[in-house]
Each structure stands twice: as C-alpha cells, then as structure tokens.
Point group: C2
Chain length 625, copies 2
C-alpha cells in the first residue's frame, strides 16, 4: 500500500495547485501533475487519510466534490460507487482522479468521520528527548590544543565514550572546518549521532509509531517542545497476508522470501508514513533523528525480519523481546537516516504495545491497583501496581474488530458504531453518518447489550423465539430475520445500506461475542487470582486501543465484558500504545523505564492455567436481565 | 598489489601438485592451473613472500630452481633478470611461471633471507582473547520457561545487555531449533557476535595486523591458545601513491575519490592478507572473529577512509585518535564477517603503532625509566615509566628507510645490510647474499660508522680530501669515486652489482643521515628535558620496528643516533607494533590498557619546542673520532 507515494524527481514536471475546502477552511497545495487527487488532498495538514483500500478504487470511501477544474472521465470504479446524480453534481472518487491542472475541491465526509487510532491523553511529562541537540562553538585547534576533531566535539557533550559510526567519523573533519568549528551535535545517551554545521538546535524531530496488526498510527513530534505536530494512520499493509497475528506468522512460514516480503511491506509503509509526515509539514528528512516503535511482539518481529514462527505454537517462544535501537541503515534503502528505537515486549503475546500502554497509563508507578484492557484479536490484560504487575493475553478472537462477524467491519465510514434501544426499534448510528455497510466493534457490543436488555437474547446467548418475548419488545422482532443460517436481527435493510445488501446480526455472531467476552473476563479474574486480589480492590480500569475509545462502557458492562462493578472506575485511555511510543521519544527516562516495566511484570500463561479454563467456561454466559 | 590472488571459483579447473623443497624439507601444495608458481610457493606454510614488486616480474627477486615439470618459455623479464647459465640450470622467476602441471621446485634465497617485519619477542601474557567462545547446552523452552530465543542465549553468557546485530537476531531463531539448543556463543565484552550450531569452541582465530607506511605484517592467531600460527608480510599497496605519510596525505587531497582510492587499496590488501592466511592454514573464514589493527595515525585514517588532511599541516589535527571496534560489514564487500578492532593513537604523529609498542614493551607498567625508539620516516620516541610517559615524533626523514639516499633501498634481497672495516676495505654483506643492488637502513648506518671511525669523514660530515687522511685508511680511498655531484664512496662496482650500475654512498647521503640522526637524538634529549631526567637514569632502551631489528647498536651509537652511554642498556624489541596488536587480540585487558596508555602519555610537540630546535642544531654533528 503506497498511498503516500512520494515523487522524488520533480525535475521538469508541471505543478498544479489544488485548493481544498474542508470544514470551513480552504487549504492550498502544490502537487506534481499525475499525482492522484487523493494524494494531493492528503497532503493538507490535519487531513487524515483513511487508507482502507490503499487508493485502489475498491472501497469507494474517498468521495469528494470537484468545484472547479478540468477532469478526466470517471473510471469504472467511480461509476460503480457513485450515482449518476452524484457524478452530475461533480462527485468523484479522489483516488481515481489524476491531477492534470488546477483543481478546487470540496472534502466532506472523506475523512472527518473516519476513526483513526491517534487519540490519547497526550504526553504530560518533562520533555527530555531520547535524542538531543547541542550547539557548540568549539575552540579552534592550536599547537597547544591538538585534540582530534572527534575528541574536540566529544569533549563538549556530556557523554563518556559514545559510539560514533564510521560514516560520521568520515564526515566530521571536513564538516568541522567548513563550519568554522561552530556546530550542532546530535546525540543520544550512548551515541554521537550526527554533527551539523551552525546552530540547528531548534530542528529536532522524531516520529512515534504504533504498528498494530490492523492499523498503523504515526505521530510527528517536535522533540524539543514535546508538541505533536501531525498524525496519520492507515491500515497495516500486511493485512492482505492475514487479518491476525497467527495468519501473518503462518504466511511468513510458507517458504523462502515470505518473511522478507512481510518485512518489506511494513518497513516500506513505516518509511512512507514518515516521509509523508515530514513532507506535509515541510520538515527536512535530515531533521528526523528517531523513529520510536511500539507494536505487538509479532509485528516487531516482522518489522525486523526476525522469524516469529516460535510465537505461533506452544510454548510460544519469540525470537527476541528486548528494546532495540538500530541505525536505519540496517534497513536497505531506508529513506531516512535516523535511529530506530523499539520498546521491549514481555512475551510472545504481550508486546511492546502493552509495555507502552503501561507506560502511558503510569500504572507501574501507581500505589493503587489498576487494570489495563487492550481488546483486539487478542485481549491483553495487565493488573497490579508499582510493586508488581501481572499480565496475560487471551485469545479473544477478532470479533471485537469486526472479523468473524457476518457483517463485521473495522472502524471505517459506514460502519454501525453504536446502537441504543429506542421506543420501538434499535436505533443505530454509523461512522460518518454514511449509509450502513456493516458493523464495527463498538456497534457489535451495543447491539448485543440491547438484545440482552430487551430480552430478545437470553443469558445463554440463544436468540429467543417470538413466543418467548414480552410485548414491549415485540416491535423489535419486526426486524428479526430468519434465513438458512438460523435467526438473525435485521440492522439495516438492503434498500437502506451502502452495499445494497442487508446488514444483519446473527446467532453465530452472538456466539462469537460470547467466546470473546468470556476470554477477556476470565483473563481478568485469572490475573486477580494470581495476585490474590479481588475486583473491589481495583482502583482504575483503563480501556486501551482504538476499539476501546469508541466502546460504550455501559454496553461492555452489560454484556459482561467488564465486570459491572468496575464501571464507575473505568476510563478510556485511548491509543496507549501510540502514547507510550510518543512518551519514549520525548523522554529518555521513560524509554529506560520500559525495561523496568518488563522486569516488574509477570507474564501469566493462560493456556496451561486451570483456573482460567474454569473461569472461561463460567464467563461464557451473559449477565441475566 | 593482489599478489595473494584468491581463486573463488575452482569449479571445473584442473589442479596440479607443486612440491616445494626449501630448507631441507619438502612441502606439497595443490593449486589450480593458471596460478603463478610464486603464488603456489607462497601457499606453503611459513614461507614468507617478499612482495616487493607484487609479482609483476619487475624486481627479479623470486628466483627458484625448477627440478621437474613442464614449463612455459622464459618471459622477457626472466631473460633480463636471469643469466643464460641460470636459465639452462632451470632457474626461473616464480612470478612469471604459470602452473600448468605438476612441478617440483627448489626454493632457496627467495624468501629465507628477505627481511620481514614479523619478528618480536612474542606474546607472554595470560590468554584472555578479546573474542570468546562458549559452548552452551540450553534448556529447551517450555510453558514454564518462555524466555525468548535471544534471552535464552544471553542468560548463559556473562554479559549485561550486550549489543546484538540485526542480522544475528534474524539468524538465531532458526539456528537454535536446528541445533537442538546446543550452540556455541561467540562474544566480546559488549557484544554477542555470533551463534554457531554445536560445539565449535576450539575454532577461535584472530588476525593481528601492523599497517606500516611501508610494510604490512599480518599474524594468524589461535586466540584460544595464544599461538601464532602463521605470519605474512608485504609492502603497503598504497606505496605507489607516496613513500611516506605526508605524500600519502597529499595524494588523498588531490580531489574527489582519492581518499576512497587509498582506503580501498589498504582495505583490499588487509582482506587479501587475511584470506591468504586462512586459506594457507585451512581455517574457515567464518572462524576468524577479529582483526586487530595497529598502525600510525595516518595509516588508520586511510584504512577507515577518514580524511587525514589535518595531520599534514600545523597544528597537526587528526580526525580521530581513539580505539575503534567496528563490524567488518561497515566495509563494502569485505570478505570476512568479523569485528575489526584498532588500537588508539596519541597524536597525529604518535600513532597506534607506538601505543602497541608501549604495550609490547610494558614500559607503562615498569618502575624503571625506559626509552622506546621507533625509527622510520618519522622517529617516534617514548620515555618514562608507569608514573608518566612522554612521547614525541621527529621528522627524521626517510633516510633510515633507504629513501632520499642515492642508492637507498628497503630491506630487500640484494640490499647492503651491514658494513665493517676489514683490513684494507669496507666489507659489506647483502640480504640473501645476493649481488648488491643498493643499501638499506642498517647498511647506511654501518657505512657512516665505518667512514667516521676510519677518519674518511670528519665529525661535521664532510668527506675528507685524499691528502687529509692517514695512511692506514688510504687503501679505502681506492673505493672513493668523484663525480659531478661531488665525492662518493664506491660500495660495489657496476661489474659486481645486480643492477649493472655502481652502488655508491655520497656526500649528500651523509648529509641526509646527519639530519635524521640529529632529529632522533634531539628528540630523546627533548623528552628527557620535559621529564626533568638525565640519560644516566634510563634503565632500558627498546629499539622497535623492522629497521631496529637489523641495526647494529654499535654503529647507531658510533654515529650518535643513540647516545653511546646507553649502548649497554639497548635491546632490539622487534616489531613491537605487531606484537602490540597480537597482545590486544589475545588479551582483552591489554586492549583496554591501550586507553590507559594514551592517558598516561603526554605528547610533546617538537615543532614549537625551542629546546628541541637548539638540540637539533647541536646534534647535527657526528661524534668525533
């Protein structure tokens, strides 16, 4: 997925101006002719590109209205996704329109409403970036001061015996003389990273990235001030090779070159995101000194090209777990020269994203007991306080990410994202107020909660027969549909949907949710059991991950995903993996704290835990209403 | 100079057997047809190849006698260097003879008498190699022991947080499983370097190299036992770009690519020597884990491709001075995967070779005061004891290396290497008892000593007129020659030399020697002055370098190069630079000691030292006889 294609050679190419109206403001970008309108629009700052199809014209979600400008004929995929009326009114799919002259374009739903995993509570600590810059006016050499060029520099920065790469050593003598001994040293706690002519102290940028199995979120940081300058997210480009961790690993094992292919995909995507962020913010690539990665254990293995096969089968052994810092030159053709840091992981299924989450929520520093829930394909759970943390991973299945659900979807425009019981029907909303095209995680939980509360589904998960339900809910049954696969609830009829097909929620879907919620809640109880603690002792519950941010706490408690007594202590922590990566980039101490976190945290292996297995069976049922 | 050409692809090529008779033993080597006989011979263990012309047929020194075997017709260069009688008797130049079938060859003077800079007192410390191996039978992973593959290994070696390269991390998971968790870890004090299947503890080799401006010496080491398995030396392949440090630096400044060219030359030569040593000793390249380099500051700059320009002009600032350890992967296409270490230097003109010399002579650990003299183009001098060391470099000029001397030569076969006053003539010897072709350093000093002692030259350096000398030496005057350039001594007449031209020693040559010896002895006095010490307090004098090893101490004292009162305390220390590099390879502590040595040693800059300048003028005269 190279949505963020970067034109390196702009030589003689014609440039055009694209004026983008969005949310009441107009932004203007200069682009090279031939670039897609989607790419042009995405260069506007704060415009978040939902890259669900990667700009291939297959998702139909980048609809824009052309206000002015010559355009090509609509493509086949545009006539499929857009009505004749829309086409007449100037609507087009931005990814299908090549810029060949000046264009004025109105951007509405395109991204404003798509869910991006870039929200969090922000970095609030003391800024002490992992990579520092210091302007130095060095004494010129003389017969009385014959220190080497390198020693002259190192004598003025607060490091003992830092590492210095050969290429930097090669660069220093000429640079020092050209600069008249006024230079800016760029360094981390153990390396002299670069030397620049003159005073460039104010140009110190880093990029923090959370590599999720499904989504990647990247944050451009001014590491001097701690400000988050820009963010971008997209679907993990490895997704076509498998939706979840296990299928990615299995793909990597399919023969020679597969692991390298997966690595190449994600490394390219990371570098594309970085270049995109720097270009969009007019920041020189040379002033990006660090990329700080969080991600689950498997995603980091794939990024580094380290065989993750051992993670897939018992006893679930990863190749590595520790933090890494590596010159980007270790990656062939990487377009930035910087240090790539990654946070350490705890086990094969409790990765650096969770360490980042602990860091972001500071639960490793708290006196009180807290619980961190990161619910995705796996549900990772952490429990404890600054004395000791326990963690586990439960194979929740991807139900809460919309997978294995008949009309399930990720958090994209058109996904049903909430449901409430109205007077006579289930009232749903969709992301971007688009026509429904499926149901995402928060919608799934809301729907199950509604069905349970209204008595349409009993606590065992069985959809009740029509004659079993009370009058007050009978109206709802109008929406019930029965087909070959058994009973199902009609969420949106074909005539009302964006796909032209029914959006339904089936008995099978309810079973998937049961399995998933049982795994999570049994995991919570297992950690409590391990720690010898009870629910009532928990002071905070942090719900992490993109899913968590949109989840209704009440619905989560209603279906038993979170014990209902914790409801008043539950807060959304946002993308804690992203925030943890940001925190490490902005705070050297925090990066070091990650190691302490891994030492403080005991991994509880649930697959061999009889208490968990018992609890898992118990928690398969929903609360009774 | 790719004398040591290595045939990578031996595919279908025909092999022949070369039987080499040398010093009473016969060695047999298998070589690919087409390889030169010189290369075949050089593959015999302990056969030192003098590579003065690089196998191009221009020095005529690789004369061998063919005992049996079909041969090609003599080349033009052979008919030039060999008499008809020699050709009839089967003599050939080995470099000009391609092996095309089985050959029996007698090797006599070829190398046995050529001077190689590989002699020294040997390593005598406790072997604790800089790179260690440890065989590990690791516990297999289980649900109760879910450490990562990497942690499982690191948990069994005595290192905290060692560096591990990305490529090794990528290799470990598969290797560990293939090896059934029985592996050998290869590590240094701060890095896990490699992991090998099974027990390979006994295969631990390193190569120590002294990169001299003129000569390179390489030592193959069994770093488990400390044994020096093999040695080889050759002329520095950069020599065509300048004989001395300054001319090399000047060449590097001549434009784009020149520094890279010099770097490429020396890196290629180092790797060729390494490959040659491993192949000749049937050691796998994979089992060479370290290359440890000593060399002067400029040679190390050129090896690393770091601009040495600052060294050439006041205030003589090098790019770097510290020790380095670097993966060989930092060098493009380097044929070994190992760590390249280099010793630290003290200043632009007191390099790692001198640090190695201090280490080898242990003068930094001695209570008594010692003096280290390394005489080459520059004379480096170190004085002091374990409390404090002083060092300097004097621009002695290359006279003692045979340069700037009318018939001067390096220490190659045919060079006059000693001279004594016989009854009625100056009796000279040559290296390898060949016909004289010139005079090397030790010969130059002997000749000057003889001339001074016999009164043929007065203490001012002037060659006396015939009527000034006493009867007893008159006979010597028969050898005196006078040409356009003034008076000169005939050392060997054209009819007796290997070149067909006179070998002479001129008034100008004597002046060169005066300048050189004045620089050295003034340097010695300057260090004594700096330290507030006197000659009589010196306990040891170490003469280092290839030149030193063949020098007559008496002659050196006779010309005033060494103060005569130190004569009884003077010893040849051999190639201390090589021994220092060997010592670092075999002893981690010694490598660390090098840093202490650089801190203990104060560099005295003579160019701005008025005491030195005064002494330099004083020492220009020879002792009086």
């Amino acid at each position: 997925m190279r949505l963020y294609g970067v034109i390196e050679d702009i030589g003689e190419r014609k440039m055009s101006t694209v004026k983008v109206s969005h949310g009441g403001t107009i932004s203007s970008v200069e682009v090279e002719d031939g670039v897609s309108l989607l790419e042009a629009v995405s260069r506007v700052k704060d415009m978040h590109v939902d890259a669900s199809c990667g700009g291939r014209g297959t998702c139909g979600k980048c609809k824009v209205k052309i206000l002015k400008g010559d355009l090509s004929q609509p493509s086949g995929s545009e006539t499929r996704f857009l009505s004749n009326k829309e086409l007449e009114n100037g609507y087009r799919l931005a990814c299908m329109v090549p810029v060949t002259g000046n264009i004025d374009v109105l951007v509405n739903g395109i991204n404003a409403h798509s869910r991006i995993l870039t929200e969090h509570n922000g970095f609030s600590g003391k800024v002490n970036p992992i990579i520092k810059k210091k302007y130095l006016v060095l004494p010129e050499p003389s017969l009385g001061d014959q220190r080497s060029d390198l020693s002259r520099i190192l004598g003025s920065i607060p490091l003992n015996n830092p590492l210095v790469s050969l290429s930097l050593r090669q660069k220093i003598p000429t640079l020092l003389r050209n600069a008249g001994y006024s230079i800016t040293a760029v360094f981390s706690s153990d390396s002299l990273i670069s030397v620049e002519e003159g005073n460039t102290e104010n140009l110190n940028y880093g990029i923090a990235i959370d590599i999720g199995t499904t989504t990647i979120a990247a944050y451009l940081l001014d590491t001097n001030t701690g400000e988050i300058l820009d963010t971008i997210s997209g679907l993990n480009s490895q997704k076509v090779f498998g939706a979840d961790v296990i299928s990615r690993i299995e793909y990597s094992m399919q023969g020679t070159g597969k692991l390298e292919l997966l690595q190449n995909k994600i490394v390219t995507q990371v570098s594309d995101l970085c270049i995109f962020l720097t270009d969009r913010n007019n920041i020189s690539r040379e002033n990006i000194y660090s990329i700080t990665l969080a991600g689950n254990t498997t995603m980091l293995h794939l990024f580094y090209g380290i065989d993750p096969a051992g993670i897939a089968v018992a006893p679930f052994i990863p190749g590595f777990l520790g933090a890494m810092d590596l010159s980007s030159s270790a990656f062939k053709d990487f377009p930035l020269t910087c240090t790539i840091y990654s946070l350490p992981s705890i086990s094969g299924y409790v990765g650096a994203d969770i360490v980042a989450g602990i860091l972001a929520t500071r639960m490793h520093e708290r006196e009180e007991l807290s619980l961190l829930l990161d619910v995705g394909t796996n549900g990772e759970i952490v429990f404890g306080n600054k004395e000791k943390l326990y963690c586990c991973s439960t194979a929740a299945g991807p139900a809460f990410e919309g997978a294995h659900i008949s009309c399930g979807l990720g958090g994209i425009a058109g996904a049903v994202d909430s449901a409430v019981l109205a007077d006579d029907h289930i009232k749903c909303t969709t992301i971007g107020n688009e026509k429904a095209i499926g149901i995402c995680g928060s919608g799934i939980i809301d729907i199950v909660a509604v069905l349970l509360k209204s008595g349409l589904v009993e606590f065992t998960g069985r959809i009740r027969d029509v004659d079993e339900v009370e009058d007050s809910t009978a109206i709802l049954l109008k929406k019930l549909k029965i087909d070959r696969d058994g009973p199902a609830f009609m969420i949106a009829k074909a005539s009302e949907t964006g796909t032209g097909e029914d959006v339904v929620f089936t008995q099978g879907d309810i079973r998937e949710v049961q399995l998933a919620k049982a795994a999570i809640s049994a995991g919570i109880f297992s950690l409590l059991n391990e720690a010898g603690r009870s629910l009532s002792e928990i002071d905070h519950v942090f719900i992490a991950g993109g899913f968590g941010s949109y989840l209704s706490r009440e619905s989560a408690a209603a279906i038993g995903l979170i014990p209902s007594e914790l409801l008043d202590r539950t807060e959304y922590a946002g993308n804690t993996a992203g925030l943890g990566a940001i925190t490490c980039s902005l705070s050297e101490e925090s990066f070091k704290d990650c190691k302490k976190i891994t030492e403080l945290t005991e991994y509880v292996e649930l697959s061999s835990d009889s208490f968990f297995n018992m609890k898992y069976m118990e928690e398969m049922v929903f609360p009774e209403y």
